[in-house]
Amino acid sequence: MLEAIYLDGTEDTPKIILDKSNNMFEISGRSLPEDAAEFYEPILSWLEKYEGQENPKTNFMFKLEYFNTASSKLILDILSKLETIEGASVTWYYHEDDEDMEEAGEEFSELVDIPFDFKTY
């Protein structure tokens, strides 16, 4: 059994939920760690293990308030990983007046081949 990851958000790292049994996958809040590669490593390796034993549908929710450029590279790595997971899709939330976050989501959706759904909050 793949153990779930629950991480509380901090002022510079996002909240993370990776829970196969409850079919919940979420990254939300602020992502500006100094070492983004180190922060996201456990998430990427979890997805590595999840691949091959994935649920029929994996809807990954991104609800980010801010992310730094180092995080953006790692977010693309996560999305590229999701590309290899059967039945994966993304819901990209952005604040209704946050054009930069909307555009960031659109750009990510152009870089990977996964269905993206856009929602405002």
């Binding site: 510079d12 500006l32 100094e34 801010y66 730094n68 450029t69 953006s72 693309l76 930069d100």
Partner: protein, 184 residues
């Protein structure tokens, strides 16, 4: 003690709402961000403008933390640099200054020139190319910080290199963020 009054006047003249001089770390980055956020909240700055200022501050502060050259650890501490925010009627001006090695000046100067030569669409393409093909550096950067600052601000980056001696140069960087959405 006249320097106190002089410094105070200089800050008022430049409309500086925050100045930090010293060592730069992630902890200090977080504190400076929190102070700037509180400051902007205190006079009810528009959320969209606040977000842009915050984003650009993050890239600027983390660039300094990663790249500022420590030229005199004993007297100034590690990564000694300066960071300032000026608030004007129509814009915020985010400026920073840090020492760097002379041999790195040409590379950075070329990079800034290239960024300033690109328009909105060109910056977007450059960003997408680097995020797709680039690698995270040893220092943990994605090579996207300056491009992101230019994109989010919607303005050209201002910069200057002041040679200090045969080893180091002082690098100044200025990003302007409009407070008036219509003018973008």
């Amino acid at each position: 003690m006249k320097y106190i009054y002089d410094l105070h006047k200089a800050m008022l003249n430049q409309n500086l709402i925050l100045v930090y001089e010293g060592e730069f770390t992630q902890e200090i980055t977080k504190s400076v961000l929190a102070m700037a956020e509180r400051n902007m909240d205190s006079f009810g700055e528009e959320a969209a403008v606040k977000r842009k200022v915050f984003n650009i501050m993050v890239e600027c502060l983390q660039n300094i933390t990663k790249h500022a050259f420590s030229y005199d650890d004993d007297s100034y501490g590690k990564n000694s640099a300066i960071f300032m925010i000026g608030k004007h009627q129509d814009e915020y001006v985010i400026t920073s200054g840090n020492a760097m090695l002379n041999e790195e000046v040409n590379g950075l100067s070329r990079k800034l020139e290239e960024i300033n030569d690109l328009d909105k669409e060109g910056l977007k393409e450059r960003y997408k190319f680097i995020i797709k093909n680039g690698k995270i550096s040893d220092k943990g950067g994605a090579g996207l910080g300056l491009i992101d600052m230019a994109r989010k601000s919607g303005n050209k980056l201002g910069y200057d290199f002041e040679r200090v001696n045969d080893k180091i140069t002082f690098f100044s960087l200025k990003t302007t963020i409009s407070r008036n959405k219509e003018s973008e």
